[in-house]
């Protein structure tokens, strides 16, 4: 009898915890359904054969790969290649530039350091879209718009990428400076310190930078649209497929949009999920550093 009361209380606690956990499971399942529904709908509708238009139901009546096959009849694969080329180039160059910038601002103390950081802050307060008009005209003058939009876009993306140095600077800040100093005392040049000591320690941030740089061009819409301006040859997937949902095209292209969406999303998503760990580190670190 003496032991019954604590046991009962213990049971009560466990029961209430179980009730709370059940409630959380219900919420999590509901959330998962809400988050997954659009993607499941896209996937299902990409296999729909009987109608290419928007319909009020989700599960196709007739299944088939028609939409995927028909993509070859459009410029889709050209857009795909364009986007892929852009993404690869941006991933390489942007990573180099961002790392140069963030490493310098994290590690060196020189007269222009604070002014440069202040300048970056002020520049980031301007809406980036403002510069679109002039960049378009200048690129048009040197022939890098419309059909040649791909090199033009690459140039624009990487040229200003130094401004996104915050996250990786935050990372470099966490690497102890005594490492550098020890190497410097031993007579290593600054270059050697970077290559031999810092870079090997920076794998997470390098992967994070490459990943975000690679993913951004797949979703970029505004700039790509303005620079390719109605010329199908120079479009990326976002711009090209956006037009498929226009009032006059949606009737014949809606399911193709879904099929194209699946083809674009799959590789990017798989890559992302594989490297998720690094992304999470970057996001968390960046938020903490502000």
């Amino acid at each position: 009898m003496n032991t019954a009361a604590p046991v009962k209380r213990h049971m009560g606690l466990r029961a209430s915890r179980r009730a709370a956990n059940t409630a959380i499971y219900v919420v999590l399942i509901a959330i998962s359904v809400i988050w997954l529904i659009p993607f499941i709908c896209i996937l299902l509708q990409s296999f729909r054969v009987e109608s290419t238009n928007e319909v009020g139901y989700v599960v196709p009546h007739v299944w088939g790969f028609d939409n995927y096959v028909n993509l070859a009849k459009t410029d889709f694969w050209r857009w795909y290649r364009n986007t892929f080329v852009i993404a690869i180039c941006v991933a390489v160059f942007q990573t180099v530039i961002v790392l140069c910038m963030s490493y310098t601002l994290s590690r060196f103390r020189f007269k222009m350091r604070k002014p440069i950081m202040k300048l970056m802050l002020v520049l980031s307060l301007f809406p980036g879209m403002l510069t679109m008009i002039i960049l378009y005209r200048v690129l048009a003058d040197i022939g890098l718009t419309q059909a040649n939009a791909v090199p033009g876009l690459i140039l624009v993306y990487i040229a200003s990428s130094g401004m996104g140095y915050y996250v990786s600077k935050g990372f470099f800040d966490t690497i102890s400076k005594s490492l550098d100093e020890a190497a410097r005392v031993d007579g290593a040049t600054r270059l050697k310190v970077l290559v031999k000591i810092i870079l090997p320690l920076s794998k997470p941030i390098v992967i994070y930078t490459i990943l975000t740089a690679f993913m951004a061009p797949w979703g970029d819409f505004v700039f790509a649209r303005y620079i390719s301006m109605g010329t199908s040859k120079g479009m990326n997937v976002a711009v090209g497929m956006y037009n498929w949902l226009n009032k006059d095209q949606i009737g014949s292209r809606y399911t193709m949009f879904c099929a194209g969406g699946v083809l674009v999303a799959l590789p990017v998503t798989i890559l992302f999920l594989m490297l998720q760990r690094y992304y999470v580190e970057g996001v968390t670190g960046g938020a903490v550093k502000g």
């Binding site: 998962s32 988050w35 998503t269």
Partner: protein, 516 residues
């Protein structure tokens, strides 16, 4: 507001402490604004004082300098070469030659045209051979403005280099006078990977930023003072020219404008700005708190499959926004899946026009905010997960031993910790949401259209943010670049004000060295 001491503060009950903090935050705003004005004033005064010092130094270096130093005032790099620093000297001289050549061949021309932005537009010429009229193009306002700005950049760079050249002479004289050796060209090259390694690393990124961001921003700010638009493109139709503050007057005038629409630009601007701020506020804080809740739910002890729940949410980040957002916007269309679903359930008998009903602007606005939760939660969930794991677990343990409830643990440990750590993030997230082009443009395209607003202002809609409005003006039928530029400047002013005020009013401005 009365300031209280730390001891008095600690004696206050919890809710009064919060009230005190909030009150002191707002009370510090006027002081912060005043401090800012003072700072700007001091900065300007400091600038002039600095210029004065520079000039006196330039003069005294000339007076006391040796012959090579004096010659360097005209022939840059002469002093370096005379003292054996050939590499530096040749670079200086080369820069001077290029500069002078550029100014004579092109720069002078662009500079002289800058005040007028061109005198002669295209003229019609009768072509006897082809028997048609053709156009002959003359001045190009766009190029004049662009190269004019470039030339000014170049002049500033030249003056700076000239100054460096003089300072180097002075320093070299001092070094020689003290009996030491000067750096050779080889030393200079070596220092590029060592002591001056930062210059090497920054050269490429900074060049990109100056050419592709700083220069365009200056150009576009200047455009706000011209009449550059689709019918004045400065080349093939009419030239554009300076109009002073006319565009700002248009934007801020309360009289209904004549080019269609019953609403003045100022009223439209006020509406869009208000919605932009409301949007930014809700988009930031709904995501923040809900994302944190989801993260806590997944992190809770005893919840299994943590990784799976996270992965499901994270997929939304991975899938390019144009796919997910465009698809969701179609789901919410009048004949979309959402309406079909609601009607099947019998919740509604008529399809709801979420984004098209101009009589219910708030329906579209609330829908957009709700859909944005769908987009934002995964990101916040990831971030909050990382931060929550950093909270020392013994805090919770001791709280539990003291008998604190779940809510108390949350409000006294979790929330303050999160807010403290993510304060700066909240600010950047707020300003980022103000400029969140993708969500609005891909979801609604700004719809429903505000028919009262002038069509000249680019068919602005009820869910348009300033940034999407700017885009509409730019790409609209009249391409009113000057108006887009005015809106852009306004965005800058608003965002800058918010940032500055919040930063200077925040109780502690974090010292970045503290982290290292």
């Amino acid at each position: 507001m009365k300031r209280i001491s730390d001891l008095e503060y600690l004696k206050l009950p919890r809710y009064k402490r919060l009230a005190y903090k909030v009150a002191s935050f707002f009370a510090s705003i006027p002081g912060a604004v005043w401090g800012l004005i003072k700072k700007i004033g001091l900065a300007i005064a400091g600038l002039f004082a600095g210029i004065g010092r520079e000039i006196s130094d330039i003069v005294s270096t000339f007076v006391h300098g040796s012959a090579p130093t004096k010659i360097s005032y005209v022939v840059m790099g002469y002093g370096n070469m005379a003292r054996g620093q050939w590499l530096r000297g040749i670079l200086f001289l080369l820069f001077e030659i290029v500069f002078i050549g550029y100014m004579i061949l092109a720069g002078g021309h662009w500079l002289s045209m800058l005040p007028s932005l061109g005198k002669q537009g295209p003229t019609e010429v009768y072509d006897w051979v082809l028997d048609t009229y053709t156009y002959e193009y003359h001045d190009n306002s766009f190029k004049i403005l662009l190269y004019g700005v470039l030339t000014i950049f170049f002049i500033v760079a030249f003056i700076y280099t000239w100054r460096v050249n003089i300072r180097q002479n002075k320093i070299a004289e001092q070094i020689l006078a003290s009996g030491k050796k000067l750096k050779s060209g080889k030393d200079d090259l070596h220092s590029l990977v060592d002591d001056s390694f930062h210059k090497t690393l920054l050269a490429l990124p900074m060049t990109g930023i100056i050419v592709f961001t700083v220069l365009p921003i200056i150009f576009m700010v200047l455009v706000a003072f011209t009449n550059y638009d689709g019918t004045h493109n400065g080349y093939s139709n009419n030239l554009f020219h300076w109009v002073g503050l006319d565009n700002f007057n248009t934007m801020l005038s309360w009289t209904a404008n004549t080019r269609g629409g019953t609403q003045s630009y100022a009223a439209t601007f006020g509406e869009v700005l208000t919605w932009t701020l409301i949007w930014a506020f809700f988009a930031t804080f709904t995501n923040y708190f809900l994302g944190m809740l989801v993260a806590m739910a997944i992190n809770k002890k005893g919840i299994r499959l943590k990784k799976m729940w996270r992965t499901i949410l994270v997929m939304t980040i991975a899938i390019p926004q144009f796919i997910s957002l465009l698809y969701v916007s179609k789901m919410f269309a009048k004949n979309g899946i959402m309406n079909g679903f609601l009607m099947d359930l019998g919740l509604i008998d008529q399809a709801i026009d979420f984004f098209g009903d101009a009589s219910k602007p708030w329906l579209a606005r609330v829908t957009v905010i709700v859909i944005n939760i769908w987009i934002g939660i995964p990101y916040l969930m990831l971030m909050a997960t990382g931060i929550l794991m950093n909270i020392p677990q013994d805090l919770y343990e001791s709280a539990r031993i003291d008998g604190a409830s779940g809510w108390q643990q949350y409000s006294k440990i979790t929330l303050p910790y999160m807010l403290f750590v993510t304060g700066p993030y909240l600010l950047t997230s707020f300003t980022g949401n103000m400029n969140n082009f993708n969500v609005i443009f891909l979801l609604t395209g700004g719809a429903p259209t505000n028919s009262a607003a002038s069509s000249a202002a680019g068919n602005v809609g009820y869910t348009d943010l300033l940034i999407t409005w700017l885009f509409k003006i730019t790409t609209g039928p009249q391409s009113q670049y000057y108006l887009a530029s005015v809106v852009g400047i306004m965005v800058f002013v608003v965002v800058a004000l918010i940032t500055l005020i919040v930063y200077s009013a925040l109780p502690s401005i974090k010292n970045e060295e503290d982290f290292q």
